[in-house]
């Protein structure tokens, strides 16, 4: 979705800038010889490029969550600003409410399992990738290399991006649309890394940005389905929204 897309767009921009590959070169290259840069350049172009982002100050997305087959349903929100602030929330009734955010400098997380904490290491890096406005500033620091990897399906082309602290992630793009349709990696947490595969679909044009409205993430026996309900640019924000929740130790 947009949030994810923005983060990956950052990755793409970073890699693209580093290797100085042009869109024209990407378009001309034969499929068999395509490089990471060409794949990413096509993705950037297909997803709307940087220009739409530069017109806006914030983006808010509301979503529904369901866990397939397990009878769990809830809601989630995500909010980004051009200042690098970030806030996501999730709520599953009778289960939990969680928050994660950044004031633009540090990332924090609050949920019943791992409590209220500043994120560190791989977790912080992954949060930054997710939470950055377009993501590229953070990704230019975190990405430590990339390569072409075998695709799990003929219609896809895939790259693997390595990061400084978190495990490498595979991103796959539809050869026809150049939009990202699959991501495979490991989510870091205090309990260890959890492998996941996410499939994105139902791309829609939202203010010039192509956004996947449906994402299905499978981890172990569970599949989370996140569906975008609403995406809104330039919503009003205040700094307090993104600050670490009051500690107020009991």
């Amino acid at each position: 979705m947009l949030r994810a897309r923005s983060a990956f767009l950052g990755t793409a921009l970073c890699l693209f800038a580093t290797s100085r590959v042009s869109y024209a070169a990407a378009d001309a290259a034969p499929e068999a010889e395509r490089t990471v840069d060409q794949i990413l350049a096509d993705f950037i172009k297909a997803s709307g490029g940087v220009a739409p982002w530069k017109k806006h100050r914030s983006l808010a997305v509301t979503m529904t969550i369901s866990v397939r087959g397990l009878g769990l349903n809830g809601t989630a929100t995500a909010l980004w600003t051009a200042k690098g602030q970030y806030l996501e929330t999730g709520d599953l009734p009778n289960m939990l409410s969680m928050k994660r955010g950044s004031d633009g400098k540090r990332y924090w997380s609050q949920d019943p399992i791992d409590g209220l904490r500043w994120l560190q290491g791989a977790e912080a890096e992954q949060a930054e990738i997710v939470g950055a406005w377009m993501g590229y500033l953070q990704l230019s620091a975190h990405s430590s290399g990339s390569k072409i990897v075998p695709a799990p399906a003929a219609k896809l082309e895939c790259i693997e991006v390595a990061y400084k602290q978190s495990t490498a992630t595979m991103y796959c793009f539809d050869k026809a649309t150049h939009l990202m349709t699959l991501e495979q990696g490991k989510k870091a947490s205090p309990q260890g890394d959890t492998p996941y595969i996410t499939r994105a679909s139902d791309y829609r044009d939202t203010g010039g940005v192509m956004m996947p409205f449906v994402q299905e993430t499978t981890a172990g026996p569970a599949t989370f389905v996140v569906t975008v309900q609403k995406a809104e640019w330039d919503v009003p924000t205040s700094a307090s929204q993104f600050a670490l929740p009051k500690v107020g130790k009991k």
Partner: protein, 479 residues
């Protein structure tokens, strides 16, 4: 692209894991899986077909769903059980053996019984299937004075109540089914029932007859009876149930009890429930006691955490956490509860999933000041699953002493998944071992101090397990 769903994985992924004995699905689990000790499944009560799977009996309105239910359950186990080799069980051969029996079952209770027998081949807990048309071994007891029962499918599970007693098998030898708890102001309390009273029948059924079809460890058999007794006591609010009690002289009498409405609204967590969470806390002298019946983040964790915080602010000398009868719940709740009691990173154990490993670990939180005084955890044979993970973790960390009886030994994280036709399947998705590498499945948590409850002690108004815990804490205070 997938960031939002990915970032939800950390908190939600663990939350999906249900470590609860006897909480599977929308109807109570009445046939917990056999254990690693190697119990066997008894033969089916009808002859299996030797030819192709017979067509489902047309007289059952649910029969047409059986093939899809069977296939979904069998496939889920094959593809999602944490052990791809299923402990060496030939799952294909199992299918060949059970599918004709299941599809051709004369009715839905038999269908689900065969399905559960199939799951029992894995010899693990937390494997259970139920669905429309299934009936428990007792069936919900809805007898009025005129007798009769109401089909389970006709009962609104949100309007169930009970007369306010817990019946468990306690004591020496084979033990005796005994009232171990009477809820204050309940129908049972008003009828004069007291803890320590031996119960021989519920709803006209002799408790001695409530043996499982499966071979079980003795502790599981007693747990089984406890749950069947609970099930027999449960029914529509306002209905009545007869309980036959026996005094110390062997004199029996029937007591007719009305089922009370639950104190709080039931909750559901996915396919788990309805659950009636209860939290109680009290202070005995300078020692705090908190008890709760399920591990749930909302509303249980908040209430338990508030109680602990209150005890901390009162500077109590020690804390007793009473997990007797607590069958577990949401596995991840063990982590935040431990966080209330430790000041540094504390591992509770390891979850071995099919494709990765997690360590259950409690990290300090910026917004919590933990209680750091002595902690004693009370256990009995109904302490199960998440309760066992919690108790074993704190015991291994040297943070708490465990007092009471050896726990049930059913501690495998699972999920409860909807299947076609309205069926629900609970299945194991991870193996669990304590920080010391000990598997609790089939073993349980061994208390630091074994204390046995007896009907006579309860009848005398004593709680020997709690009293042992209080003595331990007071002795620590003197050192």
């Amino acid at each position: 692209m997938s960031r939002i769903s990915r970032s939800l994985l950390a908190p939600y992924g663990l939350l999906l894991l249900v470590a609860a004995a006897g909480c599977a699905g929308k109807t109570p689990n009445t046939t917990p899986g056999a254990t690693a000790a190697g119990p066997t499944v008894q033969p089916p009560s009808f002859e299996p077909s030797t030819g192709p799977a017979p067509k489902p009996e047309s007289r059952s309105p649910y029969a047409s769903s059986r093939p899809a239910i069977f296939d979904a359950a069998w496939t889920a186990i094959r593809d999602k059980h944490y052990d791809p080799k299923l402990g060496g069980v030939d799952w294909v051969a199992v299918r060949k053996r059970y599918e004709p029996m299941a599809i051709g079952a004369p009715d839905e209770p038999t269908f689900y019984r065969v399905m559960n027998d199939m799951l029992g081949e894995l010899k693990q807990s937390h494997l259970f299937i139920t669905g429309p048309g299934d009936e428990s071994e007792l069936g919900p007891q809805t007898e009025e004075q005129s007798g009769g029962t109401v089909p389970q499918t006709a009962i609104d599970l949100n309007t169930l109540g009970d007369p306010g007693i817990i019946v468990r098998v306690i004591g020496t030898g084979n033990g005796a089914a005994t009232i171990t708890f009477v809820r204050p102001n309940s129908s049972a309390a008003k009828a004069g029932l007291r803890a320590g009273t031996v119960v021989t029948h519920i709803g006209g059924r002799p408790l001695a007859s409530l043996k499982s079809r499966r071979a079980m460890r003795p502790v599981e058999e007693r747990f089984h009876l406890r749950r069947l007794a609970s099930q027999a006591l449960t029914g529509p609010v306002g209905s009545q149930v007869t309980v036959k009690i026996s005094d110390s002289n062997g004199t029996s009498k029937d007591v007719l009890l009305r089922r009370d409405a639950p104190a709080e609204q039931p909750i559901r967590v996915g396919n788990l429930g309805p659950l009636y969470p209860e939290v109680s806390s009290r202070q005995v002298g300078d020692i705090g006691i908190v008890a709760f019946n399920y591990f749930l983040l909302e509303p249980v964790l908040k209430k338990v955490a508030a109680s602990i915080d209150q005890f901390r602010s009162r500077k109590v000398k020690g804390l007793v956490i009473d997990l007797r009868g607590n069958p577990g719940g949401v596995a991840a709740m063990a982590i935040p509860l431990v966080r209330q009691l430790v000041k540094e990173r504390t591992p509770l154990g390891t979850l071995q999933h099919r494709d990765h490993q997690n360590v259950l670990v409690a990290e300090p939180s910026l917004d919590i000041t933990p209680y750091l005084g002595p902690v004693v955890i009370l256990t009995d044979e109904g302490t199960a699953s998440t309760s066992e993970i919690f108790a074993a973790g704190l015991q291994a960390a040297g943070r708490a002493l465990v007092v009471g009886q050896v726990t049930l030994g059913q501690a495998l994280p699972s999920v409860i998944e909807s299947l076609p036709g309205g069926a629900v399947l609970q299945y194991v998705v991870a193996d669990f071992k304590t920080p010391k590498g000990v598997a609790l499945e089939g073993r349980g948590v061994i208390p630091d101090r074994l204390v046995l409850e007896t009907p006579s002690a309860l009848a005398a108004g004593q709680d020997p397990v709690l009293e042992a815990a209080l003595t331990i804490i007071r002795s620590k205070g003197k050192k």
